[in-house]
Structure formats: structure tokens, C-alpha cells
Amino acid sequence: MTMLNVGRPTRPEAVEMDTHTSLNGGRGLLQDEGLLFEVGRPDRTGVDLEPAELDASDLGDLVRTAPIGLAGLSEPEAVRHYVRLSQKNHAIDLALYPLGSCTMKHNPRLNEKMARLAGFADLHPLQPQSTVQGALALMDRLAHWLKTLTGMPAVALSPKAGAHGELCGLLAIRAAHESRGDAARRRVLTPTSAHGTNPATAAFVGYQVTEIGQTEDGRVDLADLAAKLGPDVAAIMVTNPNTCGLFERDIVEIARLTHEAGAYFYCDGANFNAIVGRVRPGDLGVDAMHINLHKTFSTPHGGGGPGAGPVVLSEALARFAPAPWIVHGPEGLRLEEEARGEAADAFGRMSAFHGQMGMFVRAYAYMLSHGADGLRQVAEDAVLNANYVKARLQGAMTPAFPVGPCMHEALFDDTWLEGTGITTLDFAKAMIDEGFHPMTMYFPLVVHGAMLIEPTETESRAELDRFCEALLALAQAAKAGDVDRFKGAPFLAPLRRLDETLAARKPRLAWHPEPTAVAPAPQVIE
């Protein structure tokens, strides 16, 4: 979800390493590739269109006369451009991708194939509803699975990603308070360890954010929560399993205290994959929870989206759900698109259409493939794999919470790096040279130099061992004083460490035709 080297822009340090260099500056078969605007031309195209006999006289001065500034590529050039660029990315298809809280698991290709069936992909959101009964049925079944797995009575499918789902949940909570004429509730409580989206969303909805403290063992501090709850609190937002990878043991008590104070319990469902099939959030007293279909149900992350963030709602919040939703009528399924009649309490609309249908198809195919038994196994294997990684690494690295099991991710702090001169960031960058994507670092904020490892259930034991052995070897190197290996890392990636400070100080956010201060990468000769 939100993982980054929080607040720590990287800046390369001067560490040199002898390497063989090619004559043209390239790196063998890993081709350098110029920008589209350098390799393309305005008069080149990769599509054959019959020229229209244009008569735009009716448009008058609305017609664009100046050049737009686009570059074009023929089809073979386009294929090379993007394939060359793709080779500079790491991907879950290449190796374990242990970004804690992000759930990088295998993306089944069957789901891609299903989403591309013309009967789903070639549907217009506003074509007559009688012509999309199968699509509505799929949404209805997806809703049934989500409600059953969470033990919640209602679900809003339309939110487009996790943070959009948080927004949906808080808007429903706000509408519920307003419906009782309770306008005094202006605060939302979140733990210090929360995802950044939680406080950002609360502020988006016009709430003030108050942090709740954390206990020594990485859970919500009940006493602090009780002290901060009051008639001015609209909701609490708690992630469970939490961002330390731990189950909130007192979750039922947290819900009870919250409800007693007249507030609602928003659960950040980013980590639902750890408990799916075994625990229903509805049994824990949750009022609203988003489900990242791109995490738990494995729709591909696509280099940053699209996601999908349906929100399950309790009985108390169900009638405030946003439009649209599906109703069963005499002539089949119907999409109710307006807040009116029996649905007059709906708080509004989250986006133009009905949500991320392409993601719904993929997630539903994933659910059918796994079934009730497979989904339960997903949670168990995810938790097993994380505990296995924790067990294998704890001799060399320091677990943030050594006592008791973790859930689907193992959290380490940087105590074990003390005195080495190596930071969490350095260690993470050195992982790249060993062939792995770094774990989530410096998050959650409550753990110093945090390293949050989420292996997921789709890793084999052999891959887990390969990963653990790479980290153990690095840990040994760190403790042995092999500092340059870390400070200069990565050495073997397509690029060395990047200057993020320069990027932020002098933002260059688009290509411009004038000569740049930065020397361009060597270009392929055409």
C-alpha cells in the first residue's frame, strides 16, 4: 500500500567499483533506451487509418491548429521500446517480492484470460441493463463471496482502490452520524503504526486525527484508546492484522469500547489475506472494512494499479452505502444508480460508473479457483511462510516483536545493524544485487529502521530458503565490516542509486525539447 523509504530520500555516496564498460556505454543485451520523444517522430505512426475527408468547418475556431507535440513509433519500434523498458523492472514473476503490507503474490494468468472475454471486456457501463445480466450476476456473486468471507451484511463494490475504499467507509460513517443529527463528532483515532492513507483519508473527510499509542508488544494501547474515546470521536481506524504483522488480540474489546463511546470501527483490510477463510471481521465488531482485491485476491498490481477496494459494511452502516448497487427484481438483476426512494440514505457516489469490473472478474476467478478450502489454505500458508522467514532470520537480524508468532509478515528493526555504519536503506539496496526486491522499509513508523517482510503464500519453500540465505549472507557481510557492498549498492541493477534530492529540488516532470542539463543516456543508433 504505502511502502517507501519514508522521509529518507536517497542520495548516492561516493563508492566506486571497477566494472568492465562497453564502447557505446550500454550494458550488453540490457539495452539503453532513449525517451519516446527522442526515439519517436511526429510523422511516424504504428496504426494504419484510412484518412477521413475532413470537413471541420462547423467547428470554426475550436480546431486545434498548433502542433500537439506527440511522438509516434511504428509497431516494431514500439514493441522494442516497451520491451526494452520492461527489462529494467523487477516483477513478482522474476523472484520473491517481499514488500510488507503490499502482498505481492503470484497473479494467475487464467484471471487475465477471463477478464478479456468479450462478454466482460467489451461491455459499456451504460448499455441497457437487460444486455448485461451476466456482468451484474458476476458482481452479485462477488458481493456474496465478500460478505460471506467477512461475515458482513452489505458491500459497496464501487471504490477503486484501498484508499478510495477508506474514503467510502468514512463517508458512510459520517452519514450515519449526521442522520442522527450528531455533528459533534469531529475526530478520528488511528494508531501511530497506521498506513499513511488512514490519517490522509480522515482529513479528506474533514476529520481531525488523533493518534493512539501502542503497547510494548506492538498492539493498540487499550488504556490510551479508552482515554481518547469520547463524544467527539466519529470513528477509529485500525488495521488488523496490524502493520506490525500482528493480530490485535484485544480486537473485540477495541470494538466494544468504540461502540460504547458512540463511534464506529473502521478496519483497514489491507492485511485481510492473513485471515481470509479463518476469521470473519464481522465477528470482531467491525463496522466497515475495505478489501484490496489487488492484495488478498491477487489482481495484478500493474506497476501501481489499478486496484479495487470494495467496502463491507455492518447493519448500522449498510443503508448509507453509495450508489450504485445491485437489486434483485422481477426481471432479473438491476443496477440502482441513484440515491432515491428506499435508497435515499445513500451518501452519494464514489466515481462515474460501477467500480473496477476488470478487477472483479479476476478476483472472482481467483475465488472460484481457490474455493472455501483454498482460501483458508492461502491464509495458513501466508502465515506459515512469514513465520518461517522470521525463524530462519532471527539469529542474524532482530525481530521487532520476538515473542509469539507473527501473522503474514515478519517485522525486524535495525538494532542488529548498530555499529556497522550500515542503515536499513543500505541493506535494502544491497538485496537488489543479490536478486531480490527490498522489503518494505522504515514502515511502520513505530519501529526503528523497520524492515517488513511479507513473503505471501505463493512462494515455495525452496524460494524462501534462497531468499533467507541471501539475507543471512548479507547480514554476515554487514557484521564483518564489508561496508562498501552496502553503501554503494546497488551495483548490479540497471541503474545505481538515484539522486532523489536533486529530483525534488529541481523538478523535471516532463520531457522538453530544449537541451537538458543532464547528459542523456547513450542512445541506440537508428
Binding site: R64, P67, S460
Partner: protein, 448 residues
Amino acid sequence: MRYLPLTPADRSEMLAVIGAASIDELFADVPQAARHVDLFDLPLHAGEIEVERELARLAARNRPGGAGPFFCGAGAYRHHVPATVDHLIQRSEFLTSYTPYQPEIAQGTLQVLFEFQTQVAVLTGLQVANASMYDGSTACAEAVMMAQRVTRRKGAVLSGGLHPHYAATTRTIAHAEGMDINCLPAAIDAEAAVIAAIGPDTACVVVQTPNVFGVATDVTAIGEAAHAAGALLVVVTTEAVSFGLLKSPGEMGADIAVAEGQSIGVGLNFGGPYVGLFAAREALVRQMPGRLCGETVDADGRRGFVLTLSTREQHIRREKATSNICTNSGLCALAFSIHMSLLGEAGLRGLAEINHSLARELKAALETVPGVEVLSPRFFNELAVRTPVPAEVLVESLLADGIVAGVPFARLDPTAGLDDVLLIAVTETVTSEDIAELAGALKRRIAA
């Protein structure tokens, strides 16, 4: 289970390494009352064949756009997407990577985003664009809230030509932040009423061109009036192909331009995922929502790209962020960018010209249908027409002829009293024969 590599033997050996007697021990923190021993009441796992069968059955109960003449638009357009686009976005390294937080091993995604931002900037005629929003409607809501931050004013005027679902989305989200959203009544020439609605607390005016009725308008005068009152001009475009023929928002004085990018590369997908385009004047960049990719150098001085200005974003600024957005529409932005680079300048212009020519052909054909009145004076590829019977009835009856005739305006806004308005769009996927078939069927159905 084909997606789970661990064997029973692996599991017991791993439990031994962990020092746990059973998997249940690892779930010991779950309260007893919430532990489910039995499986939930859902089907058990299924093989590829069974899953394909089930989904094919559901898909067969839908009528795809390609099944016959198809004229729906109203914010989503059925354009042809080159086969190359779908092939390339399924490259593992694009499809199965995460947000590019480790730039050294994400230069592919980052360079694409930089190119995408540049394409969006030149298309909209503005200087900076972000790395995408969820869709056009949420981009519109974000633009209004950005205007509030820039101007420190609480009001927004939404033209009655703005897509009603965009207006509803904006009202829902911006209202929650305490903004006063003035949605003007829906009308074919709604832009005419916008200037009079601007007041001293107006943060921005939001106008769409071509508007939801297909009407293309020069909004320069609205921008001048907004600027004179200290407000920003937000220009919305729901049909991105129109950028190839019409004046850009920037040329008309837009401070912020938002658009739905679905037309390029993405496909219909029953409404999502789509890709929101978001661009602004350079001076406003630090108030922009969402991710921005910027150019820099690596330790060896080689050009590279990183996510930048992240002090605007939720993972750094938390409750002080400019938006709560995290995951955006990365892969759809890639699809947009690939399709746009295949088109190029010449291709986009050519595509836009084809679309406009077909719309002129459509207009001529509709003018031969007794009882149908074309309402849009200047248009790109979509027309609003007045129908002699409720538009919804007409659309339903033409389904029997195998034609999906368009979107009844009442579907978007049932309270506007425009039940007799039908929105009809054409793209390069529509043929002259389709248009003739539509006109013929309309004549028959209206006469009947």
C-alpha cells in the same frame, strides 16, 4: 491447489523449524470466539476448466459492443485498441510489478510514467501532469479540492454540461471536505449560465468540453471571468480522442485539466478500470494530488527517473497530504501511453478526424429521421438528439433490431426532465452501414 507450492511435508518441516506444533498455534492471538473451525459456506476449489466454464457462462449472458451496431458514449467510448497494446501490458515486468518505490529496479515503469506525463501535458496544453488518477470523475473531484487549497475558498461552480456522474462524485467527495458545490441545471448550452454563477468565494468553475451533450465549446471567456474573480478554471474532457482535433484546455486558459483517458488503450470494461488524466499549470505543482515522476541522475551520472515531490503524499504527510490516493491506474496509464505512441501526432489527428467525420455523417443521417431533432450545434463525435418518445423506450425497442442506439440522458440524471434526450456517439469502430442501419431502424420504430 495449483497456486500453492507448499506440500504437506513442507508444512510440517517448516512448523518444526518455527517450533510450532500446529498451524493453529500461529493463529493463537485470534480470540477463541472468532476462530472458525469449519469451512465457510462457499464452493470448494475448482480447476481451470471449471472456472472457465463458469465465467464463460456469465459472459455469454452479456451483449458485447462488437455484437452489432453500437452507439453508447456518455463518458466511455468504444475505440479500437491495437493488439500490440494488450500484448505489451501483459509483459510480466509491467503487469506483476509494484509501485516503483525502488527506482533502481523500476526504471521501466518510471520511464513510462515520465513519458505518460509528458503526453498528458502536451495533449492538455499544460505544463505538468501526474502519473494518473483512478478515472476522470475522481480526477474532477480532486481538481476541485486542489482549487480549494490553491485559492483558500470554499465554493465551486459546476457547469450543467458536466457529466452528471462527475458532478455527483465531486459533490460527494468535496462536500465532505466542507465545500459548497453549486451544480447548475443540466442544459445543452449550460456553459452560458456559468459566468453569472461565479462569486467571491468561488474557488473554481468546472466546465466540460465536449460537454455531456456532445457540445464542443470555447471556454476561454469563462476562464477569463473566473480569473477576474480570483477563481481557477477546471476543464474536463471525457473523450480523450477529441484532443486530436479540438483546442486544448490550456489554450483556452485552463489552470487544471482533467480527463478520462479510457478511449486510448484501455477499452470499455463495463466502467473500470479506467485512467484519470490530471494536468495543471506549473506554478500549481505542489498542490497537485497523486504521484509525480521526475528526472534525475544515478551515482554514475546516468539519467534516471524517480517518484518525486512526495512530501505532498499520504505516506509522508499523512493527514496533511494533498490527497489520500495511493494506488492509481498504473497499468491503464501504460496502455494509454503505448496506444498514444503507436498513434503519434499524425495518428491521433487522423483518428480524431475519422471520429468527427463519422459524427457529421451521423448527424446527416439523423436529420432524415422524422421526429428526431439533433440538439448539439458544434460537436466532436457525440450528439444529443430529442426523441419523440422517451429515449429509454426507443433504446429498448431498437435492441430488438440488434442495435444499441445510445445512452438515454435520463440514465445519467433522472431528475433533469430530459427523458426525451438520447446521447449517440460514434467512433472509428462504427461503419457507415451501422449509421444507415440506425437511421433506418429509428424511422421504423418511431413510425410504428
